[in-house]
């Protein structure tokens, strides 16, 4: 039976289990439950929100989840200083008013911040380069949490390093707050090219080269083989960082992403509900150009977020974090 569904084998590895001592013998925090949560968001759009009002608009537009943060990425760049997670009362209020999953961002390597977010009841924690990294050397050891984590990656090596630290979901880093999809495209292409390469070694039975790749990427040989055999990342992989139009979303799906994160693109535009609905439509129907056309027709380029480039960007978020 196990050979029938090889992509499910990983679900038994390195997990934390919490067994409730009630009559039902529930086991919480298993890999199956954490990575399964991410699998339920596939084909959907996760939207950055900073207030209850925005969370309502996102839910109404058909968001599959909301991501709560204190400032949208473009404002993080403008404000400068240290960017930290959203205020707890705002997270709590959003948790109480929307029925879709609520995610929240914590700083890279800040284990205690993540513990606090787990206490709020947030459904998923994003260890995010949008906030100022707290630990220059390490990411959070995410196996220790019952709550699933999503982490950014900019190539196959960084994706696999995060998965080996316990991330239940990966997203491209892209370059948040720029309104420019180019970096997200670059990152998913690097992930795809990396997988194609190890898959070729795997097909050729070249164990030595697979080992060399594992050393190069600073990950275990096992996860390289697992990924090569699957021909894809062993967890759900979303696109993030610079997606602003329905066609941007469809492009990322075309490149093999499982779903879409939209940050500043929605609530920094002048037509948020319209734009959010259009991105949801384009993501669900990404392989039907005539529907993506309809979605693209729903938004007005003149109302799009202007975005930042060059020196205005001030700094690159994708390079932040240890072992990025």
């Amino acid at each position: 039976m196990k050979e029938m569904f090889p992509e499910r084998a990983y679900m038994k590895k390195g997990e934390i289990k919490q067994i409730d001592k009630d009559a039902f013998e529930r086991i919480r925090g298993t890999n199956r439950v954490k990575r399964g949560f991410a699998r339920m968001t596939k084909g959907g759009v996760i939207m950055d929100v900073t207030s209850v009002e925005q969370a309502h608009i996102a839910e109404d537009a058909g968001a599959v989840a909301v991501m709560v943060l204190d400032k949208l990425p473009i404002d993080v760049r403008r404000a400068g200083g240290v960017a930290r997670p959203a205020s707890i009362p705002i997270i709590k209020e959003i948790l109480d008013t929307v029925t879709i999953p609520v995610m929240a961002k914590c700083r890279i390597g800040h284990t205690y911040e993540a513990k606090v977010l787990q206490e709020t009841g947030a459904d998923c924690i994003d260890e995010s380069e949008v906030l100022t990294p707290a630990d220059e050397w390490r990411h959070i050891w995410k196996w220790d949490f019952v709550t699933p984590f999503v982490c950014g990656a900019l190539d196959l090596g960084s994706a696999l390093r995060r998965i080996e630290e316990g991330a239940a979901m990966i997203r491209t880093k892209g370059e948040p707050g720029t309104g420019n999809v180019a970096e997200a495209i670059r990152h998913i292409r690097l992930v795809n090219d990396g997988i194609r390469e190890i898959k070729a070694h795997y097909k050729a039975n070249d164990t030595q080269q697979l080992m060399a790749k594992a050393r190069e990427m600073k990950v275990s040989y096992e996860i390289v083989v697992e990924t090569a055999a699957l021909g894809r990342l062993p967890v759900v992989n979303f696109a993030a960082g610079g997606i602003s139009t329905p066609a941007d979303a469809a492009e990322m799906m075309l490149l093999g992403c499982d779903g879409i994160f939209v940050g500043s693109g929605i609530f920094k535009s002048e037509d948020p509900l319209q734009r959010a609905s259009a991105i949801v439509l384009a993501t669900a129907y990404w392989d039907s150009p005539e529907v993506v056309y309809e979605a693209q027709e729903m938004v007005n380029e003149q109302k799009a977020m202007l975005g930042l480039t060059g020196p205005e960007m001030k700094f690159s978020m994708q390079e932040r974090g240890a072992d990025s």
Binding site: M1, K2, M4, F5, E7, R8, M11, D20, A23, F24, E25, R26, I27, R28, G29, T30, R32, V33, G36, F37, R39, M40, T41, K42, G43, G44, E59, G62, A63, V64, A65, L95, D96, T97, V98, T99, I100, P101, Q118, G121, A122, D123, C124, V146, T147, P148, S277, V280, L281, A284, Y285, S288, V291, E294
Partner: protein, 210 residues
């Protein structure tokens, strides 16, 4: 129903479509049926189907995409029409919510969503709380034999009441987890995330024994 012409589809707008596809394809191959699963996104694709799987995912997103005009593609009416003509439906988690007659939310009391209203069951969404309360537990399901079924509950709903024509497949003091009504099958958990194909086999049986 002839084995050679059978066609099963999965509503592929959002959710864990691939997991259902892999499992259903394995079940079909195992029974020697030469048919591949269809990913359904457009109403006309439903015309050829003997069975439709509605996967796990976010029920609000799926219900908006199948029924709201601003998303353009009115799949809901077509699904209802095909069920009247005998198409079988299997809903897991969000899929079970979507085919129910009525749904409430555990936290947000004034919440409402468009449903397909195919099955005479009432559900409460997110019954166990948030993701950290998601869990696995073995379930005893007599219809599937003595071996317990691995229940994977992810932000799961619960079935609170069922109509007279509904057969309860799994229940205990905590609530109702799996039900069958004619050619409709629903589970509040995710068989597609396990290695156990018995629910997918049961669904195929329901289609074949027409």
């Amino acid at each position: 129903m002839s084995k050679s012409t059978i066609q099963i589809g999965i509503l592929a707008l959002q959710g864990d479509v691939l997991e259902h596809e892999l499992m259903m394809n394995a079940v079909l191959a195992n029974k020697g049926i030469d048919s591949k699963i269809l990913w359904v996104r457009r109403p006309e694709q439903l015309d050829s189907l003997d069975g439709l799987i509605i996967p796990g995912g976010e029920s609000t997103v799926m219900s908006r995409l199948v029924s709201e005009m601003r998303f353009g593609h009115k799949l809901a009416a077509k699904i209802q029409e095909r069920v009247q003509k005998g198409m079988a439906v299997f809903g897991t988690c969000a899929g079970a919510i979507l085919i129910s007659k009525a749904s409430k939310d555990q936290v947000v009391k004034d919440f409402s969503q468009a449903l397909l209203e195919l099955m005479d069951i009432e559900v409460i969404r997110n019954r166990y709380g948030r993701q950290r309360d998601s869990f696995e537990r073995p379930l005893t399901i007599e219809r599937l034999g003595n071996e317990p079924f691995p229940g994977v509950f992810i932000r799961a709903p619960i079935i609170t009441s069922v109509g007279k024509k509904v057969e309860i497949l799994a229940k205990d003091a905590g609530g109702i987890y799996a039900v069958k009504q004619g050619k409709l099958l629903a589970t509040t958990f995710h068989p597609e995330l396990t290695d156990d194909t018995r629910f997918h086999e049961l669904f195929l049986e329901m289609i074949l024994n027409d």
